[in-house]
Symmetry: C2
Amino acid sequence: MTDPSPATIALWTSLVSASRHLVETIEARLKHAGLPPLTWYDALLEIEKAGPDGLRPFELQGRLLLPQYGTSRLLDRIAAAGYVDRVPSPEDGRGQIIRITPAGHDIRRKIWPVYARSLAELIEARLPPDAVAPLTAALRHLRGTAPSEPQGNDPPG
Amino acid sequence: MTDPSPATIALWTSLVSASRHLVETIEARLKHAGLPPLTWYDALLEIEKAGPDGLRPFELQGRLLLPQYGTSRLLDRIAAAGYVDRVPSPEDGRGQIIRITPAGHDIRRKIWPVYARSLAELIEARLPPDAVAPLTAALRHLRGTAPSEPQGNDPPG
DNA sequence: GAAGATTGAGAACTCAATCTTC
DNA sequence: GAAGATTGAGTTCTCAATCTTC
């Protein structure tokens, strides 16, 4: 049998519970502050980083690792809130271009302090500084993609 | 400002993406094998561990860290599949007692090999053995609850 | 036929309200 | 009034099918 060791199982449960706890806590703080969820932040940040030319839904999909329909529905909601514009792509008749609106830029900047503060309190303050880098390196080995490029250093505001 | 360091942000993104990747991969394998999702396994294992006397929904809720309504709806589905029985509690008129059925025991045992194999391949095989314990210890510092007792060494089959 | 994107229908999740018993 | 548990209504997620353009 290829049963995992107790140590592996312990790691697995710690990993899942740490991740859940952090995400749930941050989401709760955002909601409490009347702000949109983390996914919106990630999407808005990517769209903003794309600059004035915007980007295509399939590009966003690749960056956020969402399914096609997930991206479509997420954009529906964000657009309905007025945080992005969708315009038909002049180059590709099948596609459209997503650009952030001033309101979108604004809300993204309002989310950041709550997000940043949470990361500082919930992660930075709880780990010895010299534990952070090895932990990050180990976690990267667990990703599906090869642990090469940064590839998703999301949050910075 | 209390902005988190880039290293903290990198840790946060690695943590979330590692956790997501593992969960999604395991769920996909279970589905592909025609088996129920991970949550069912966790619930069935806890119920089975409770022995022939079963347990109350609120106890399960505490062990799985689910909201009250989440436990209720999860049990609805598991019971509809015939994997647990719900009987009124003789001691407390408000409550009920959940017990695993033979079919429930059986399906739980069928899930385990797929689950175990995944943990071995996706975690154990990807990390140097001496990295596991420190990683686990660090992750425990990130939980909400005090990093004291084991408190949720779920999987073993 | 493949790629980009959307959509209908059904399942699951969430919130707040409810009900019963303690 | 608090604890255990469920439920209606609304939102989000998921799958498979669809549509249009490449």
